[in-house]
Symmetry: C2
């Protein structure tokens, strides 16, 4: 085992048959040790305590032996740190005290001063100090569209009607909002990379709600602005239900395109092109199926992923809170044990 | 204006430049006259009163001049009529009193006796008697997968984890459940067609949550079983987020594939093939944008739809409850007034 994290090799499309694996939302509610340390501590508070962030980020690495740690945070953390009044309500999600309803609110959206988040850099350094050299630390931020959707809707939404109406009806104002959010996201990622994050993942969780035209004209440019600020590390770009947007999300400046479970990875690669790796994409709902089913479907993912110029094994979305941690541990072992041979076979070696 | 409904011509791929339009969920909460007649009447009760069903089905035809009426019902109606204990909770959706947790519940799932729903046939006949001859009446049913997801989860779901675990872990039992649901759906549609429905739409609303492999192996065969029972009328087949499933949903036995707003109709046609018409696909969230935006995006949909061998204009999903009915009326007028010229231009006539 070399000291170059296998995740970075895959992101650089130089992985050979090695197959790195981690899970979105691996640091979270599916783990009893997470629930124990979070008890009585509000989500946003927990994201600002370097001791807790370090512990929570490392928990799944210790338990599952995944090849990467993802920085424990919330996409709302940089907004809250910038001064936006919001809370994370358990069972609901982010709730914005004063949803954006006026141009003035957009023009007055605060900037994020890196000096306001010394704890983030401190946590990154603490994690790197403990993380084995062959494992990578991935930085984390939400993309402008997804952040904007929360600010405009006031919380989670089914149809993003207000967000889309603003985007379509007031495109200049929309662009002003997203340009500001892009600066906040970029600052948040930049602080993480400067402190030692070796890759980043930009979550545009809800971009899949958009038609390609809207994404290309009013969303992609802002995500590009974020990703261009951290071009010195591999950049993973992910959203749910983004089958029609995969090429655009790659072209936004990603080295790795995250794919949900709806698009087989060989199809995804045809859409994305030969210059980017893929990440994914086992359906997280299948984690509750019998192990032999999980194993067989994971093997299918590995075989399909061999068609891509680089593959990082992951779920197609976050770990469900109800997932059995032992299944995840077993899945990591399968990817490590069977991955190289399955890839070699699929690659025709 | 001939007496052949333009919707049927389009479904048969013989429409020329005429462009029929209707809206999913056009009979519903966006209309004040609907809210007035529904006041104090539970959803499932309203679906079993021929006078109300007739009135509600015809309301949008009168108001908007759409080219088709969609039979007012709920996908749970045939299950309730068969004897499954459930209710439709306002703001929640269907809630199943005893969600399916055992094989025995599946084996004991009742059949739907056509004699149990004389009101459905009566309403269809009453609607046809009032509907102008150049407008079509579309019958309505939910597809086996979507029905199964409600029965297994007990209500609406975010991730369909129990449903997918059953499908993957107990495929024989899953198939038994869906075969039973397919018979119920088919009976419900057959009663409507026998009474005078001139087309049907099978709603597999949540099929888009599935990977193509799961859809092809465990869902499509059951939808095929339903659609084959009403092969004497044009069959529309729709689900949300089904970009990766369009070809399979067409091949299940559809004459028209409904497409949500995520896939431009010219792309959709490439996936579906030259033997089927398409229906869609303006993003319903855009209805709250300024009219000029709605109009321009509707024109884009019309132009893209001309690439298909048949096009029925619709939204990409149901009318939101908050939609302004006047915008819908104006949209119908635009499709009727500008549609033929836009199609002629796009077709190179």
């Amino acid at each position: 085992m070399t000291d170059t994290p296998s995740l970075l090799a895959a992101a650089h499309r130089r992985q050979g048959t090695a197959l790195p694996v981690w899970f979105m939302r691996q640091a979270g509610r599916s783990l009893p040790e997470y629930r124990a340390v979070r008890e009585g501590i509000a989500m946003l508070d927990s994201c600002r305590r370097p001791d807790l962030v370090t512990e929570i980020t490392l928990q799944p690495v210790r338990r599952h032996d995944v090849d990467a740690a993802i920085f424990f945070s919330d996409i709302m953390v940089p907004l809250a740190a910038a001064g936006v009044d919001l809370e994370i309500k358990s069972g609901v999600g982010p709730v914005i005290t004063e949803p954006i309803r006026t141009a003035r609110q957009i023009h007055e959206l605060p900037e994020l001063d890196p000096a306001a988040i010394p704890d983030i850099a401190e946590a990154i350094r603490a994690i790197r100090a403990e993380l084995p050299a062959h494992k990578a630390l991935i930085g984390f931020a939400g993309a402008p569209f997804t952040l904007a959707s929360y600010l405009v809707e006031g919380g989670p939404s089914r149809d993003y009607a207000r967000t889309k109406a603003l985007m379509a009806g007031e495109p200049m104002l929309w662009d002003e909002l997203c340009a500001r959010l892009a600066r906040i996201s970029a600052t948040f990622l930049r602080v993480q990379v400067d402190a030692g994050a070796q890759a980043v993942q930009l979550f545009d969780s809800w971009a899949g709600s958009l038609a390609p035209y809207d994404y290309a004209t009013r969303v992609q440019p802002h995500s590009t602005a974020v990703l261009s600020r951290v071009a010195d590390v591999p950049r993973i770009h992910f959203g749910v239900g983004t089958g029609e947007l995969l090429r655009l999300m790659g072209a936004a400046g990603a080295d790795v395109v995250g794919v949900d479970w709806r698009v087989p990875l060989d199809h995804a690669t045809k859409r994305i092109g030969p210059d980017r790796a893929v990440q994914g994409n086992l359906d997280p709902a299948l984690l509750s199926a019998p192990w032999e089913v999980v194993a067989e479907r994971a093997r299918d993912v590995i075989r399909a992923g061999a068609a891509a110029p680089g593959h990082i094994f992951n779920l197609g979305h976050g770990v469900p809170a109800t997932a059995d941690p032992d299944v995840l541990t077993r899945l990591v072992a399968l990817v490590h044990e069977e991955g190289p041979a399955l890839r070699a076979e699929a690659l025709g070696h």
